[in-house]
Amino acid sequence: MFKEGKIKAVDGLTLSVRKGEIYALIGANGSGKTTTINMMTGALAPTAGRITVLGAEMPRHRHVVSSRIGVAPQEYSLYSDLTLEQNARFFAKLYGMGSGDFQRRFGELNEVLRLKGRERSLVSNLSGGMKRRASIACALIHEPEVVFFDEATVGIDPVLRAFLWDYFRSLRSNGLTILLTSHVMDEAGKADRIGLMRAGRLVDEGEPESLMSRHGVRSIEDVFLKLSGKELNDV
């Protein structure tokens, strides 16, 4: 649980993400997705409850876990007055990577994320989609075991979105566990499992197909609408 004053941002949330799966946490803006991710990554301490990541309790063992997880926050969270390479190198150093390892990994990521040729560009000069990919590259630079993508596909065009989902699936096949959040319901259908959040609570969870059949609807959006009773549920 995370409570600030009288507002409970996240309350009564119980979920577990399996190793090597893509888990999509979906919900409207303000439903508590980012707060949940912040608590899981150790950036925010829960006011009650227990969180374990890779078997270690968070945020107590944050400094043990932090080198094994990668995070791409909702905001790009990059230094816009530095180049893409300077950003990536900075984060690589925080994870204790040597220069050789960094060069290899940065080259790989630039290739896959189609950032080649923009290494020396200032982040402020990159397009929105490029910033998003740059942010993902910085989250993956140290080859983490679990990654958290907060609204990773928000504000980007459908082609890039499709590309990113393909990429996420390729990461998963390499054994990576991915927890992502989205308020775009339908794209969450591409995840292995989905958790639906509303007003700080997990209202349902399951594989996309089983969720749709359980609620007798044809899309995840309909599942969500059915669960929220078509109310405005911005918190």
Binding site: E4, N38, T41, S77, S80, F91, L94
Partner: protein, 384 residues
């Protein structure tokens, strides 16, 4: 012209209303807007409220007095005592009586601003001149030349006291300047405190801006999830800002000493050490303070809030002993006071490390204090 193309005071007032609403929302800014002018006015009012006063001087009155006959009248004169009494009642100076040699040593060490010797034949010479002899009474003055305006006040007080005391118009004031005996130029005496002020204001400002930029750039949430600890981050800021501080020190001395030729009587290496130490104190203070600034705007306001009172309370504008009694102890907790002591001591007085040990220690202690405060307030998580 279309309606929307016309100048609209209504739209301007909408902008004004919105800006005021934003200021009202930002409590810290609001507090600063009210507090800062009040603090600055109060401190400067107290600091600049009067002329130099209570300047500590030592007077050695060796005058033996003299009796002489003017026709049938016998006149006995104790002019030295009269001068001493007059000085003791003048609040420009604060008089201690004692031995002139000890007084000179006191000026050299900064205890006294001047030492005055009234010679044993003072009264005798005055009376002999009155009898028509071609002799002139003299007073020996050993004075700190590093603060010309105070030196002028002391001189004025001394001249006034002599004239009031014995009614004579002519006497020799033999002046000796402390610290090498050379009269310092206005530039020489102002560069040390200007150096202290530049380092106070600019190092603080740049440091506050740099650290608070991390808060506004939105990179902190990502940093919180990496292995970087809060202390490592703090040390990173300190190291980088120290480099910036050292660069400023180089520029300040390159211009002050290199271009303007300000005097450096002491060891230049000691001077640079003092400046870098003071830069570090300012960096640590800034890193500590920026833990409380939520944005760059708030951070920027902190620089003048620290720097302006420092100016008034460090002895830069007015000597500490001329400040109201209750405010004087406050100067001892102002880092710039010690920076002034160090820069003036090394540049003007030629002091070495042993004479300035206390001021160095005070700055080291302040650096340690600010480091501990910064460490204990640094955030390693998103603000709840």
């Amino acid at each position: 012209m279309s309606r929307t193309g016309r100048f609209s005071l209504r739209r301007s007032s909408a902008v004004a209303g919105r800006v005021l609403a934003q200021i009202r929302r930002d409590r810290r800014t609001l507090a600063m807007l009210i507090l800062m002018p009040a603090v600055v006015m109060l401190i400067f009012g107290f600091a600049l409220g009067g002329q130099a006063s209570n300047v500590p001087i030592l007077v050695d009155n060796q005058d033996a007095g003299y009796a002489a006959a003017f026709g049938t009248t016998a006149v006995s004169l104790h002019a030295g005592s009269q001068v001493l009494t007059a000085l003791q009642t003048d609040n420009v100076v604060s008089v201690t009586t004692g031995n002139f040699t000890a007084g000179k040593a006191g000026v050299d060490s900064g205890t006294y601003f001047a030492a005055v010797l009234i010679p044993s034949n003072f009264s005798q010479t005055i009376l002999m001149r009155a009898q028509g002899r071609n002799v002139t009474a003299s007073i020996l003055l050993y004075i700190d030349g590093t603060k010309p305006s105070i030196a002028a006040s002391v001189l004025g007080a001394l001249q006034g006291s002599v004239q009031n005391a014995s009614g004579i118009k002519e006497f020799n004031l033999v002046q000796q300047y402390a610290y090498g005996g050379v009269k310092l130029s206005g530039l020489d005496v102002s560069i040390p405190s200007v150096t202290a002020f530049v380092l106070t204001f600019l190092v603080l400002l740049i440091s506050l801006l740099t650290v608070s930029r991390e808060t506004t750039s939105g990179t902190l949430p990502r940093l919180y999830t990496t292995p970087l600890t809060a202390l490592e981050r703090l040390l990173g800021y300190i190291l980088s800002l120290l480099v910036v501080g050292i660069m400023m020190v180089i520029v300040v001395f390159a211009v002050g000493v290199g271009l303007f030729g300000a005097a450096v009587r002491g060891d230049p290496a000691l001077l640079v050490t003092a400046a870098v130490l003071y830069g570090l104190v300012q960096v640590l203070l800034a890193v500590f303070l920026s833990n409380f600034a939520r944005n760059e705007f708030q951070a920027v306001q902190l620089a003048p809030l620290i720097a302006l009172p420092s100016m008034a309370l460090s002895g830069m504008l007015v000597p500490i002993y001329s400040l109201p009694g209750w405010i004087q102890p406050v100067s001892r907790i102002v880092p710039m006071y010690y920076a002034n002591q160090l820069f003036e001591g090394i540049m003007l007085k030629g002091y070495g490390a042993s004479e300035l040990a206390f001021d160095f220690l005070a700055l080291v202690a302040m650096a340690a204090l600010f480091l501990v405060l910064a460490m204990s307030t640094v955030k390693d998580r998103i603000d709840a």
